[in-house]
């Protein structure tokens, strides 16, 4: 039978002019390809300006997942949106560098909040008042 079932998908949430994807499962290859396809459609349908991909829960990024993240970044750019990958675990970052994965065109931020700030800065828009307030404490 099919791996993981056909109904399985990664939810894409809308957050104002951004789309938010939080990967919570150990992502098999077909699920990654499906995410790439669905995200591309959603960017186009919602005219999103930014995409945040939260990989906090992802405990590995191999060359296949890396390629999918790179594809998403490139596809979103063609559709006039920017992609930021947030929440990469330190062990994943160390492994990626040793693996030699270049992650071309992928912008990263430490966490979701900084990812949102990065998107606002790139777009020249202002972040919501709350996150501006939070950043003063840094």
């Amino acid at each position: 039978m099919d791996e993981g079932g056909l109904a399985e998908r990664i939810p894409i949430l809308r957050m104002g002019e951004f789309l938010l994807v939080t990967i919570q499962v150990d992502m098999h290859d077909r699920l990654a390809i499906r995410l790439q396809e669905e995200l591309t459609q959603r960017i186009s349908a919602t005219r999103a300006k930014g995409v945040l991909i939260d990989i906090t829960a992802l405990d590995i990024v191999d060359s296949f997942i890396g390629r999918i993240l790179g594809n998403i970044a490139q596809l979103s750019r063609v559709l006039d949106a920017q992609t930021v990958v947030v929440g990469m675990q330190p062990a994943v970052a160390i492994t990626l560098v040793e693996l030699g994965l270049p992650l071309p065109g992928i912008r990263t931020a430490l966490n979701l909040e900084r990812g949102i700030a990065l998107l606002h800065a790139a777009l020249g828009t202002s972040p919501p008042a709350e996150s501006r307030h939070d950043r003063r404490g840094e």
């Binding site: 992502m27 990024v61 060359s63 296949f64 675990q89 040793e98 030699g100």
Partner: protein
Amino acid sequence: MIVEGSEKIAIRQSGDIVRVRQIVRHWSVRLRFSIVDQTKLVTAASELARNTFEHGGGGICVLESLMEGARAGLRLRFEDEGPGIANVDLALKDGYTTGSGMGLGLGGARRLVDEFAITSHPGQGTQVTITRWR
């Protein structure tokens, strides 16, 4: 060197790549590998399991936990009976790919482990063995 435990995992469909990752993670936690070592070994296993599935047409992964003196290790052997690799040296080079990855599978996996061995002959399949010590 003593083989303390072993497990055999069939690689028949792309979902088995995830299963290999989960089982290798389970054993590396059990052997108290550091989180970085766990991540490196699981990532290398993921690359090699995908090669076995995509290029070898499926096969097996045999996992063995090792003990040598005071040090513990995990050895993984990936075997397929696929078409084999005509030029192993070329296949180990970064950027060389015949599949859907980034061409980092073999060379990348080699960089993530302590020991790496490959045997492949056209028409006779491929065997890759990797070991990581704690």
